[in-house]
Amino acid sequence: MLKQVEGSRAVAEVVAKCRPNVISAYPITPQTHIVEDLASIVGRGDLDAEYVNVESEFSAASVVLGASAAGARAYSATTSQGLLLMSEVIYCIAGMRLPIVFTIANRAISAPLSIWNDQQDSMALRDAGWIQLHAEDNQEAADLHIQAFKIAEETHLPVMVCMDGFILTHAFEPVDVPDQKEVDNFLPPFKPTNIVDPRWPRGIGLFADPRFYMETRYTLHRAMEKSEETIKKVSEGFAKAFGRDSGGFIKTYKLKDADVVVISMGSIVGTIKDLIDQLEEEGKKVGLLQICSYRPFPRREIYNSLKDKMNIVVVEKSISLGRGGILASDVRWSFPRAEKKDRNISSFIAGLGGRNITKNDLRYMVEKVEKEPVELEFLGLKKELISEKDL
């Protein structure tokens, strides 16, 4: 049913319809509305699940790990500090191949303390062996959760659905929340295979000495690579069942004749599309390549879509301190060395700590790369706040 609803609420309703058996989370802004709404849904009896109020994110992740290992469909949500606090468990969950689904309400990382949006948090855990999907708007955020459970349970890989904190979680916009029957038709009951159960005794989480460890990492890496097929298949299946495009690997917008291509992910994509249309009216041809699946990374898709594009600019809400743009790095790596020579791939860092990103900022970015490539630039940096010696 289409309704004007807060992003968090849409996600909570959709997650409830995915029939998780165990939910455990620790409140942290800006995820709080999601877990509160789920508490209400369970409290009212609209969802038959165990809702475990824990004392920290570390425990939340640990509870869902145990629940999943015992055969339950398990869910949690966190962000920023919470995600970092539970990072040990995040790696454990992937190593144990547990099909857990998390919502990450993307938020900046302390210090200094910031409760506002950027994507440093999920980026910090990009190597942990979780599938990471990024939502463009609240409709996609809701849809991706349904897809996430299906992808997780087919690939035996945990999935993070990333949505920009406040910008999406706290925004009211129209979302079509599917009804229970539609979700049930698309997402069958969880059939766990690798669980702790006295009927089939097995050990989960044994230690591996140097003779055995490496192969587990190889298997996990290959599983991530192979999950591409499932991610695409589930997205296509979703489109057939629900009548709208959601998820998948990448999406493109006015790419065909573009002279400059912008690459990004998350809610900023909406602002970029508006700018592209504006520039089109002015006679400029700019296109967008939007990344939905960040892990596994859509290297081949990027290369194939942008083979003939010579002016690419990556704008991201994250940074590898001491190195530069993370997404930009990944994109630069997508082109073989021989084809890098005349191709400009510029890197911009934007929106850290919730800094507002305007169409004018993005316009400045496009106009700059039209003139020359940019190795690394922070968009909208306020130099007056930085002391001379630190510039």
Partner: protein
């Protein structure tokens, strides 16, 4: 304890935690924080956890703290304070009052590990807990200090667990001084802070700090609510000195818990149609158990 009675009982006003912060009107914690800092004096380092206090008092560029202030994360104020103490020891600096401060979560939940460690290792740190009985800063979600029956945003049907007894847990670590206090009695609260700071080793003070917004009452009722918390037996006032219960504040006239509960929106569901008499009875039972246990 070698401070004279006159000094201990003087109410200090030094404005070390100054006005202009962004707390809600009627905030119990803001009042308590001001009293604590003033009782401690200028020679103090405050290690504050993430929470209401930190958020409303320390935004860049205008914090309210006129003493040194260190904020790291939600769960590590005690561990950070332990580090400050270790540095002062190693560098043979000081003496200085190191006060770790936090609310429900940073004391008893996410920060439980680090406070237990701080107590167990015997650091010379005073920990002050501002107990507003939920995670107020992030939107009134339940904590392990949320009392039985209280409604929060994650216990919409009423909390089903008992309040964790942090003062006794602290005492059982074998620390030399533990005290409970409420924000309405300035003299008592500051006396306890000064007493604690005169003792070497880990100290714990647990302050009941009503939150008008989260508890659902008018700011003007804060004092009355504190009094009722005490007179019902729900929040006992005492000290534990070297493991022995001392200076228990007796109840002059016992008050039934309903008098306390009905003033607060978070308990209003108990008095509406379909409200649970069993829950109120259980809350009364908890109060009665406290009265017996602490001989109130």
């Amino acid at each position: 304890m070698n401070q004279n009675a006159e000094e201990l009982n003087k109410v200090e006003k030094k404005d070390l935690f100054t006005s202009g912060h962004r707390a809600c009107g009627g905030c119990g914690q803001a009042l308590a924080a001001r009293l604590v800092q003033d009782a401690s004096g200028e020679n103090t380092i405050a290690c504050v956890a993430t929470g209401c206090l930190e958020v409303f008092s320390s935004p860049y560029p205008d914090p309210s703290w006129r003493i040194p202030f260190l904020h790291s994360l939600f769960e590590n104020a005690s561990a950070v304070a332990s580090g400050v103490e270790a540095a002062y020891k190693a560098l043979k600096k000081g003496p200085v009052n190191i006060i770790a401060q936090g609310g429900d979560g940073s004391t008893a939940d996410i920060g439980f590990q680090s406070i237990s460690g701080m107590f167990e290792r015997g650091h010379n740190v005073l920990y002050v807990c501002y107990d507003n009985e939920a995670y107020m800063n992030t939107g009134v979600q339940r904590s392990s200090f949320t009392p039985y029956g209280a409604r929060t945003s994650t216990t919409p049907m009423g909390n089903k667990t008992r309040k964790k007894n942090m003062p006794l847990i602290a005492a059982d670590h074998g620390i030399p001084y533990v005290a409970t206090a409420t924000v309405d009695d300035f003299r008592d609260l500051q006396r306890k802070v000064k007493t604690a700071l005169s003792i070497e080793g880990p100290k714990y003070i647990h302050i009941l700090a009503p939150c008008p917004l989260g508890w659902g009452h008018h700011g003007e009722l804060t004092v009355q609510i504190c009094r009722l918390a005490k007179d019902t037996g729900l929040f006992p006032i005492y000290e534990i000195i070297d493991g022995k219960l001392a200076n228990v504040k007796k109840i002059r006239a016992k008050v039934p818990v309903e008098e306390y509960l009905k003033l607060q929106g978070r308990f209003s569901h108990l008095f509406k149609k379909g409200g649970s008499k069993e829950t109120i009875a259980e809350i009364q039972n908890i109060a009665n158990q406290n009265i017996e246990r602490y001989n109130l």
